[in-house]
Subunit: 348 residues, 4 copies
């Protein structure tokens, strides 16, 4: 049994950590902090937990939390984690950061993509990109995890296996469709229901911040310099991501399934969508919502000579809290699937 | 560890039993039968289970299933279970019936509300109405369970505690709003997405079949002859029920909360919605979806002199498979909460 | 051709007036005022009008608007119109008020239901309740119109014709389901998409402000003292209202249809939903969205001895701007249907 | 006043023609045919028209319809119109075909993309592609119109203006998100609400049939051989399309807006989405639903050196019935905007 603290626990990512960890056999949640809701019951903000916990939001600072816990989750906005991490590391606490502040190995990417100078290049080396399917061995020995971004996760899972093919173009076009939870619980008039229902909002059509982490990881698996042409849309649902990626390469169907099988082997949380008699022939967020699965599938476009590859995940789980917890389970030698082996909620 | 069979497992109720039981520590699912999908993988029809089971639909008859299992779940249409139950009982197998065929104690209600003569009045006595909060002691010793209907559950949970008040009218008006999963997976042109999205369909405005079971159970708890004026609407979502009930009685807020507290005591799966600072001041299906919770709350209408009582449940869980499994857990002395103690999926 | 001004034109009701009047042959929109968006193009806030108008929001006060127009629409919050109306009347301008400030004939209702003293009982007599089907003759000679509330409209339309029956109870239970646009465009964290999607929110379960205007109008048509037990829910859609009303009276179907036919005669905008072979057997918001229709239907509950009566309208049109414009057309002897005779947007 | 017939009027496209034409001053709808609903009131199937027409579906054959009308609309499945058109032409009737059977100039495309041999190459020459912004002059003198496909329309409108730029790649990636009405009113278990809600279904990820017509029209405007890499998804809404296109070319924002302004000039139904202070910064189906507008906008991706161009239309209007009616208005010298100049339904 380890003791943990969740900093920034009133947001959706913090809430998802709380939700998934509420049943974890090896974890005691000591603190869930919030500036805006201090001393309120967490079930006021996260009503899914009403009846399951009497915990209240703490107003402890991250340093105060660190004193009493083995592991700290930072569920803070980009550019905020970095303010706390250097001091936290001094305390010896283990850290799982949900933000992008320690995902990129190259500090020079930060000014371009996140708008701030990253002054801790040494720390970047210490953080492991928390995608178990790619970095399990490193995670086993990690003290510091940077949890991947949601669109990044869906993109990497669905593109990486194909990069051993000969590519006709190093640009891969990724079109992402994301539920509203991806944009957080903050208040903004464009987010009210009447303005947002029935909408397909191109909220980040170019220069999306997940671009460099996708490229970094694809380089890691393939040693190829891929460029990701990413456009992100917010769609008429709360949870779930679908990424549609155009990979300019060709091979036959058997070979492509083999690539996927070889790449993922016995990975429990990656599912290959092969059943053409199902209502769900290709990955679809509908059938992963509430689960830690990443569904992968593809279609072959002979006309264009491209592979259209799909990834579907629950952005809050496999795209955030799920991978964080899976990484924690690996770090601490818990059952890797603990808290994560639930079916999706279907139909919903 | 018991062996179970689910008859009629390709429908939504069957699927929900499979989904919830997939993690149950004391249950082995031996058979999941389907006439229309025999030999197909169950994950084709219930894609939430892909990656979690390789089970295929069996074409065994209920009697063939009964030979090999300890407990049989019948997830069949109303009027169909009754064809199998008499023979099944002969085999000694335990039965949890999801249909209405054995919910009503009075056989004379069947012609009026279900359109068929019920020729097994003795069997009606043997079945226990599977609502743990009302019948836990009987369930402990039961061999046969009739699982309550979904609207019935939400209605009973939210009305029963108030019946000790002095009523000015024995008619209680219940307005039900139900997600589309309540009408099953059958094919019908009125159910296609384009015809159903954005709709509020009064699919059963009068003479709803759950009426007599609600009245029966309210009589059971209060010894009062209540008449339920029920109107049921299908709304723009898949899961969840809200029932809004007008009880013509009055008392102050403290007294009413006391009634609820006394009635439900330590019931784990009933939550009293008292937090007026939450975004969810009254029960709302949104915050129970994916859980086995029944949320109860009320408002006092001094003008009309009525209590407006709300019940919110996930129609597939607390309104069907959840109560069935909770009853099974009680019957078999398992941990009553096994498979059922998850938070709702929030936000979704 | 008349000149009009819309005060408070950046809200949804103001926007709907602009939308519907954009094609009106006899109306010139001189001013559309907004405090919060002054000088901005109205198409920024009401993007449906982009390409159809270059009008900008004016920062004129109501009195400044009145100087230049024949008719002023007040699309202001309850309690705000009343601050301007006494002075506006001095200018001789005609007024259509969208708020509740002049709907009730009895000034004593205002403290109880709206929380303010109404100090202009004489003005209340001058305003006509702008429901053409009930008050057409008065509207013809009116200078001042109070436009009915949205839930009130659906309730009155669907209840009034049945009041000539002998009632067993003078309380009529009305359950209202309303789209999100009914709660306006204001900012509130409970309204963001992630918190509101898939929700059924009992936002006003008792003591809804439309109660007294429904009772007033039902008294007007029937001379009976009806009490309305109204509970209002916000549902998972943007436009539309369904009201489900329990009227404790009985008669046969032919008689009830006759009542409806007699009551509404040739009213163009009231449709009787009689086709039991349609996908839409009862009134359903889905099939009135975008139109000025009020759909009326019913079911007979022999068990309870009640009539369940349904009304469905687009809350923004027949429930607000549509009746306002229809009243204006009558006042000015325009074609009564001008701007209002469009089919609903189906399917949507 | 012309007399028209609509063949195949019980489908969604037929219904949209009826809906839009119900107010047209110069059109009398003589026949609306349906095989499956003959003699039924059209308002049973298209409930938006209840109260506006008493027309019933006719069982006349297309040839029988042609005898009595000036213009026939064929709202038939692909591969069906072609069976009737040769004979219809003999009667002298004018034809607007909603299917793809006469959209492609090159008959050799039909076996590849539609799976049938096209035996009427001469007729292909006689049909004009009914996109007024590109072919107005030809439409003026046309007798036969092939109405563009919905995804094709959104793609062409949003790509064509940029083709005068120097392209770095002749492949343009188009990701389409389409509402459920795009897949028609036919019955299919994958279309029922519970299976389709919250889904993003990649229903045609490669080899979409609109590909050749997009390429044909882009060649027409630019004389360039563009290849379209199209992937089509069905999303959680009924109406509307968004297409996201990656055009590998670069220029500055002023130049790109100039291209759009020059290309569309005074086209009434094309709107350039330039307001970065709006909630709708880029084209969004939400704000065109119910209108004949095509909204166009773009973002510049300096990293990838591409223009991300967006088109949003109501698939049933500008993507089908709207362009058909606009073409008819041009053919017959009616006011080109008649029946089409309504604002979108906002918010919905």
């Amino acid at each position: 049994m380890i003791k943990i603290g969740i900093v920034g626990a009133s947001g959706y990512v913090g809430g998802e950590l709380l939700r998934l960890l509420s049943n974890h056999e090896n974890v005691e949640i000591k603190y869930a902090t919030s500036n805006s809701h201090k001393n309120e019951k967490i079930s006021r903000i996260h009503p899914d937990l009403y009846g399951l916990t009497d915990l209240r939001f703490s107003d402890r600072t991250p340093m105060e939390v660190a004193q009493d816990v083995d592991l700290i989750f930072l569920a803070l906005p980009h550019g905020t984690s970095i303010k706390y991490v250097p001091d936290l590391i001094e305390t010896g606490v283990n850290i799982i950061d949900m933000s992008a502040d320690f995902r990129l190995k190259d500090p020079e990417k930060y000014p371009e993509w996140y708008g701030f100078e990253h002054n801790y290049p040494d720390l970047l080396k210490k953080f492991i990109y928390g995608m178990p399917e790619l970095h399990r061995d490193q995670i086993k020995n990690a003290k510091y995890i940077a949890t991947p971004g949601c669109i990044a996760s869906s993109s990497i899972y669905s593109i990486a296996p194909f990069l051993s093919l000969s590519l006709n173009d190093n640009i891969i076009n990724v079109d992402a469709k994301v539920g509203s939870s991806g944009s957080g619980s903050g208040l903004d008039e464009s987010k009210i229901f009447s303005e947002r229902f029935n909408s397909i909002r191109a909220y980040k059509p170019v220069h999306h911040r997940h671009t460099p982490e996708i490229e970094q990881e694809l380089k890691y698996v393939s040693n190829k310099d891929i460029k990701i042409a990413l456009s992100a849309h917010s769609v008429n649902m709360v949870r779930g991501i679908l990424t549609t990626s155009s990979i300019y390469a060709m091979d036959d169907e058997i070979k492509l399934w083999s690539l996927l099988r070889d790449f993922y082997g016995n990975e429990k949380f990656v599912r290959l969508m092969m059943d053409k008699k199902s209502n769900y022939k290709y990955p679809d967020p509908k059938i992963v919502i509430g689960s830690n699965f990443a569904d992968i599938g593809f279609a072959i476009d002979k006309y264009i000579k491209r592979i259209v590859s799909f990834g579907a995940i629950d952005n809050m789980i496999k795209g955030a809290a799920g991978n964080a917890i899976q990484s924690m389970n690996i770090m601490y030698k818990f059952n890797e699937y603990e808290s994560l082996i639930m079916p999706s909620l279907f139909p919903v």
